[in-house]
């Protein structure tokens, strides 16, 4: 993937000031996987912000997914530390630290275990600024948590809980699709003056590798990425699902000559309605795909919003290709997930409607 594809130019009028890579045109890059990119982002965040601290379960030795390797050695054990095994404590502690105007990077070891922290995140973090009339805020707070299917995770190591958080006013929700995306989005999330839930597709930690720009850069929140342009069908996803969708789009092109426009939402809350709307007005057909269960999943929000915005442009019903409404089943994983073939079928169905 070329450097230009990775870094999206930011609309000057609307985006807050963001720092770009040191020399965009001749940027140095390093081949990295997702956990190394996340690690790099946290390192840069901590270098540029003395108040930034990283904490959670097992982060001190490097983390169960190696995202925090080397950070303690570099920044000291007062800035990189283990907490007791308690997500509600991690969340409450993070909120308190951030409420003092500091930067808290809190890890929840698996998104499946974020639920004890749900009260703190939804009732406290999300509402801290609003309920206080802006007397206080926890803008410096970012939760990082691995999510998604990994092949053998079953009920409690595979969940994608993003939809629970998108319905909570006051939270931003972000999910990167690749290392270079993750680094830029994580830096943007940490520095965004609002609490952010940053979900990292764990299946990509080792397997997703690409050239990642060195140095400090951010990818704007709230802005989707049109990964490839197309004429016939708009395909929308986020996180690990984009790899599946890319393959499905390739298959649709090769076998049926269907030209797909593939969009990575990147930020789910607030999501880039304009970019998807523009695309569907052009193609008239939309597929939305995510691993999370279909009913009440975030695709429902996108489908409804686009129906409102693009009703007269739509040539086919909007298709959702998602997980079924069962707990994530171990032995049935390959049947459960919205794989390349299911996505291909949906693309064809929409294209031929």
């Amino acid at each position: 993937m070329s450097l230009k594809r990775i870094l999206t130019p930011l609309p000057a009028a609307s985006a807050p000031l963001r720092r770009q890579a040191a020399a965009m045109s001749t940027a140095a890059v390093t081949k990295m996987n997702l956990f190394t990119a996340v690690n790099d982002a946290m390192r840069i965040a901590m270098k540029t912000d003395d108040t930034a601290v990283v904490f959670g379960e097992d982060v001190a030795f490097g983390g169960v997914f190696r995202c925090s390797v080397g950070l303690r050695e570099e920044f000291g054990n007062d800035r990189v530390f283990n907490t007791p095994l308690c997500e509600q404590g991690i969340a409450g502690f993070a909120i308190g630290y951030a409420s003092m105007g500091k930067t808290a990077i809190a890890e929840i070891q698996f998104a499946d275990y974020i639920f004890p922290a749900f009260d703190q995140i939804v009732n406290e973090a999300a509402k801290y600024r609003y309920r206080s009339g802006n007397e206080f805020d926890v803008g410096g707070l970012t939760f990082r948590t691995p999510c998604g299917a990994v092949g053998h995770g079953g009920h409690y190591h595979s969940q994608s809980p993003e939809a629970y958080f998108t319905m909570t006013p006051g939270l931003k929700v972000v999910m990167p699709r690749s290392p270079a995306e993750a680094k830029g989005l994580l830096l943007a999330s940490i520095r965004d003056p609002n609490p952010v839930v940053f979900l990292e597709p764990k299946a990509l930690y080792r397997t997703s590798v690409e050239e990642v720009p060195d140095g400090d850069y951010e990818i704007a929140l709230g802005k989707a990425d049109v990964m490839r342009t197309g004429a016939d069908v708009t395909v929308v996803g986020w996180g690990g699902q984009l790899r599946v969708l890319e393959a499905a789009c390739d298959m649709a092109e090769q076998e049926r000559g269907i030209s797909c426009e593939l969009i990575d939402l990147r930020t789910l809350m607030p999501w880039d309605v304009e970019t998807v709307e523009k695309s569907v007005n052009k193609t008239g057909r939309l597929i939305v795909s995510h691993e999370a269960p279909v009913t009440g999943g975030f695709a429902a929000e996108i489908a409804t919003k686009i129906t409102e915005r693009c009703f007269l442009s739509l040539e086919a019903p909007i298709e959702r290709v998602c997980g079924y409404d069962t707990p994530f089943p171990l032995i049935y994983e390959k049947y459960y997930v919205p794989d390349k073939l299911k996505c291909f079928e949906a693309i064809v169905k929409a294209a031929e409607y």
Binding site: Y97, M100, N123, R131, S132
Partner: protein, 342 residues
């Protein structure tokens, strides 16, 4: 503590009591939608607040109004919040008594119980990182101490070695639930040992004792960068809130006994009078002055306007994103269409 300071503290307790009486009454009159008194716990508020530094961040539950008042939050400001008017710092977004003020280092109250406890630990960690000569001060009731967040917080405070004072107001009831149905161990203080921290149990209705305990706890917490737990034994003389009628679950005799035998304000007044620092006449005058001040504040709060409708969509995020701009426009358009109905 100088004599003047003791008198000032006494006056603050009386002020709190008078404010509670009148605000409670105003809810009964239908002027304010909701209120919670702290009757019987005034010594806890003032005794602890006076022992803190002004910039010790306070994370409270909801029955600690005297703490923010001690710091200078005015009766007018309190009334403004209760009436959700245009001057409310919280912009009218929350129920009465959910006050907060960054100027006074008092974090805005939220209804969910015990959520503030682990937050206070995070705040204490920030203080430690900055090397400040401060503690985080965290208040909660004995009922809230049953919540998971309490246990999470104490464990974190011990392992992360933060300068924090956990202050438990054990007032005998969590709405209708008496302490016998809340815990079986030796109160809340005994839990401190399990989490590796110092604790002290104190007579919450003895203001001097509360003051001394808080001062000592604070010094220990700062010098050792460690948590300290205070359990102040007291009694909730009033109802849980204006939505509660406590005669349904406790006897009038029980309330009477606590009110008459160990009322914190009477006890301290007796002490001041014995020391020649206070008189009945001064007391009568004080109460009359306080009452008048509260009534004035109430009236001014009631007649002030409501916050602007535009504040409904601000502060969700630092800046208003596109979808909120749209929703706001839609709402305003709807209201413009039905101007008499809203």
């Amino acid at each position: 503590v100088s004599a003047e300071e003791w008198v000032r503290m006494y006056k603050a307790m009386v002020s709190q009591q008078e404010m509670d009486t009148i605000f409670y009454g105003s809810q009964r009159q239908g002027r304010v939608s909701f209120y919670m008194t702290a009757t019987g716990e005034e010594a806890i508020h003032i005794g602890s607040a006076a022992a803190l530094a002004f910039d010790d961040p306070v994370y409270a539950q909801y029955r600690e109004a005297g703490v923010i008042m001690w710091r200078g939050f005015t009766k007018q400001q309190f009334a403004d919040q209760c009436f959700s008017n245009v001057r409310d710092l919280g912009k009218g977004r929350q129920m009465p008594i959910h006050v907060g003020s960054s100027e006074h280092h008092f974090h805005t109250i939220s209804s969910p119980l015990s959520t503030q406890i682990p937050q206070a630990v995070g705040a204490a960690y920030a203080l430690k990182q900055e090397g400040r000569d401060n503690v985080a001060m965290c208040f909660f009731g004995e009922g809230a101490a049953s919540e998971g967040d309490f246990h999470a917080a104490l464990n974190f405070a011990g392992t992360l070695e933060v300068p924090i004072v956990f202050f438990c107001r054990n007032n005998g009831y969590a709405i209708s639930t008496p302490t016998h149905e809340q815990y079986r161990g030796d109160g809340i203080a005994s839990r401190a040992v399990g989490y590796g921290m110092h604790a002290i149990r104190v007579d919450g209705n003895d203001m001097a004792a509360v003051y001394a305990a808080t001062k000592a706890a604070r010094e220990l917490a700062i010098s050792n960068s460690c948590p300290v737990l205070i359990e102040a034994m007291t009694y909730r003389v009033g109802h849980h809130s204006t939505s509660d009628d406590s005669s349904r679950y406790r006897s009038i005799d029980e309330i009477k006994k606590w009110k008459e035998d160990v009322d914190p304000i009477s006890r301290f007044r007796n002490y001041l009078e014995k020391e020649g620092l206070w008189s009945q006449d001064e007391d009568t005058q004080l109460r009359s002055d306080e009452r008048l001040e509260v009534l004035k504040a109430l009236e001014a709060a009631e007649t002030a306007g409501k916050p602007s409708l535009e504040e409904m969509f601000t502060d969700v995020f630092d800046e208003k994103p596109a979808h909120l701009v749209e929703q706001e426009e839609a709402m305003l358009a709807h209201i413009a269409k039905y101007p008499d109905k809203y």
